[in-house]
Amino acid sequence: MRIRDFRQSYEQDEAIWQTPTSRLWLAGLLVLLALFPAFANGYIVGLACILGIHVIASAGLNIMTGYTGLISLGHAAFMGVGCYTAAFLAQYGVPFYLTIPIAGLVAALLGLVVGIPSLRIKGLYLAVATLAMQFILVFIFREWEPVTGGVRGVNVPNARLFGFELNNDTRMYYAIAFCAIVLLIAARNLFRTRIGRAFIAIRDKDISAEVLGIDLFRYKLLAFAIGSFYAGVAGALLGFFYRAMTPEYFTLTLSIFYLAAIIVGGLGTMLGTILGAFFMTLVPELLRALVSLIALWAPRAIEILSPMQEMVFGVLIIGFLVFEPHGLVEIWRRVRRYFHLWPFRA
């Protein structure tokens, strides 16, 4: 049961980590994250890197879609902008610690441009506008050969940080984990500020928000810029992680992947973002691992079971949406509530 949780001020009520227990859990999590590569093999560390990148990108989309109500189908393209910016800057020797924020800023600037129609259109219409941007940007990735390498793609030099070459997954893991933690904390804090509350007000009812004095144009643009910044950073990290990239990576399918991640995880919550990214990344991985396990005894089973993984994954997504429309975060909240009140009934 949760005890010693008595809040006497607004600041206490708004604190991110409200109890000593939650602070302890957080410290434990940070230690675990720091020690993780020491216990995991290369495959798991590589998977954690991809997961971290997906978490950052999903967080950006959740800021736009989950918190502000601006549907975007062009998130993958903004990742592409970040990736190509990073590749371009890295070739000219710009340090890694500058490349990452600059890649985010370039994506954010483009996000501002895409955000302009959001004052006039919303819902499905805005989704179509962002979809158009997805296609335009992918076209640019394919055609602007001097910068993007065209359809053949681009090689990204190894990242270097304070003399260390980030030339393996373990080193990249720490860079990605650091960025993910900083950006998640920043996003969590954002919604304790006037800007974050304005985003939520716009999502809930934009006309009412305007009546309350919120400048819709400014805040909608800001939401697009921040969301795109996250995508840009994720894209830059992706480029440094794979060290090569082709435009075929940044497809509409990837944009939908992120949309699915925040819907399955829970719209408008940072924890939902993390859970959604975990679900979308790890469930197919676990299903495949299960197939491989079966293949140890029946090698040809892989030929039949592999196509079935996609089906099972689809059914799982539908199942979650039907039985828990508020996302995985709601399941987490229920579990938490149970332990907060235990041994009494929730």
Binding site: G46, R243, T246, Y249, L286, I302, E303, P307
Partner: protein, 405 residues
């Protein structure tokens, strides 16, 4: 309370579940090759996804080759263990499978799934210096022994395939003027790959490229493009960057427009199953194929072995696709490289395997390739032009075997 380990308490069930999940996720490190005496072949074939039409057969071909080879004693007495996991033709997934299999089994050879994978993994592979790789991609820039030293192609590049088509056109042309050629290709990395080099080769051979059309990979409405082709009046239309659609639609509309053209294609639109699916449009279809078809077994012991093994191991397989043959050939090359290293008493590392690969010259593939194969340049740059016979529903040779520079 019963504390027997067999008592399924919630905690035990949870613990067991986590244990299985951990095991399934690849947390435990599998025994190394040396301990088991087995040589592991790793692979991430695209069994699902858009490339599944070929990916499954590639996986079956490579896996079956390993089984067949084991019945013949393996490689220098070592049994082969084939470990393949579906890549779904997704780069993240292919990289993940690659890292997983490399981490758990440390195979000396690995077969990937695409150009994107080959490019993304290239630096890591060079850095590791312990694995020789290949993939179903025939993209020209992957054959780069300097920058991608541990990668090879079990056939010619797309550029080399187009060059063979042009050489065939040039050799078979009659009269002073060379036939006019149109290029139709998809707006993808795959489609665009050989175009610049093909145009240069055409210029060198004096073949006029009268039209160049770029379409989406699965275009449906091609009437505007056909109108352009009609005005350009080509004798040959080379399609590249497609598997099937929109090729049949192009051919159908060109014939309806009264055009007398010879349609041609490259490897992925040359399997018998693909050409059969073109229906009436397949009449007169030509193209380049680096390997023999599975029904062409005369004086080709490996093709006979492939046919016999597939009939025994996969009785439901009515026709052995060329993708299966490709997978089999990849297995042969991997084995040849490993065997050469082991016979020379060298360890299976990148530089030794690269040297062994480059030492393969005038190598008899048992008829899979029509000419003796050389992998000095990290590709087998030979092939033959075939033509579809609508009566026999077979692709019949239209030329001898061609080797490109």
């Amino acid at each position: 309370m019963n504390n027997s380990p067999l008592n399924p308490t919630r905690r035990r069930v949870l613990g067991a579940g986590l244990g299985v999940a951990g095991l399934a996720a690849g947390l435990p490190i599998m025994p190394a090759i040396a301990q088991t005496g087995e040589i592991v072949f790793g692979a991430a074939p695209p069994i699902t996804g858009v490339f599944a039409f070929a990916g499954l057969a590639l996986h079956q071909g490579l896996g079956d080759y390993c089984e067949w080879r084991n019945t013949k004693g393996g490689i220098a007495g070592h049994k082969i263990k084939y470990i393949g996991e579906d890549s779904g033709y997704k780069m993240d997934q292919a990289m993940s499978v690659f890292k997983k299999i490399m981490g758990a089994h440390k195979p000396p050879v690995f077969y990937g799934d695409s150009t994107a994978w080959a490019k993304a993994a290239a630096k890591e592979i060079s850095q590791m210096g312990s694995v020789l790789t290949s993939s179903p991609s025939f993209a020209s820039d992957l054959v780069d022994p300097k920058n991608a030293p541990y990668y090879f192609m079990p056939g010619p590049t797309y550029t080399a395939m187009c060059v063979m088509l042009l050489e065939y056109i040039s050799r078979t042309s009659r009269g002073a003027a060379k036939p006019a050629v149109a290029l139709v290709y998809s707006d993808t990395e795959f489609g665009r790959d050989p175009i610049a080099a093909t145009k240069l080769k055409a210029q060198a051979l004096g073949i006029p490229i009268v039209q160049e059309i770029v379409t989406k990979p699965g275009s449906v409405d091609v009437s505007a493009e056909v109108a352009k082709l009609r005005r350009a009046k080509p004798d040959y239309v080379i399609f590249h960057g497609y598997v099937l659609a929109p090729i049949p639609e192009f051919i159908k509309q060109m014939r309806e427009a009264g055009m007398s053209i010879t349609p041609m294609g490259t490897i992925w639109s040359m399997d018998k199953t693909t050409v059969d699916a073109m229906g009436a449009a397949a009449e007169g279809w030509m193209g380049v194929m680096p390997y023999r078809y599975s029904y062409d077994t005369k004086d080709a012991p490996t093709m006979q072995a492939i046919k016999a093994y597939a009939a025994k191991a996969r009785p439901q397989m009515q026709y052995v696709p060329t993708f299966y043959t490709t997978g089999w050939l990849v297995g042969m090359i991997f084995s040849e490289v490993i065997e050469r290293c082991l016979k020379a008493g060298k360890s299976l590392n990148g530089p030794n395997m690269k040297a062994a690969l480059e030492s393969i010259n005038d190598w008899d593939t048992g008829g899979v390739t029509g000419l003796l194969a050389s992998l000095k340049g990290h590709q087998i740059a030979s092939g033959r032009i075939y033509m579809y016979d609508t009566k026999s529903k077979l692709l019949e040779p239209a030329s001898g075997w061609i080797r490109t520079a």
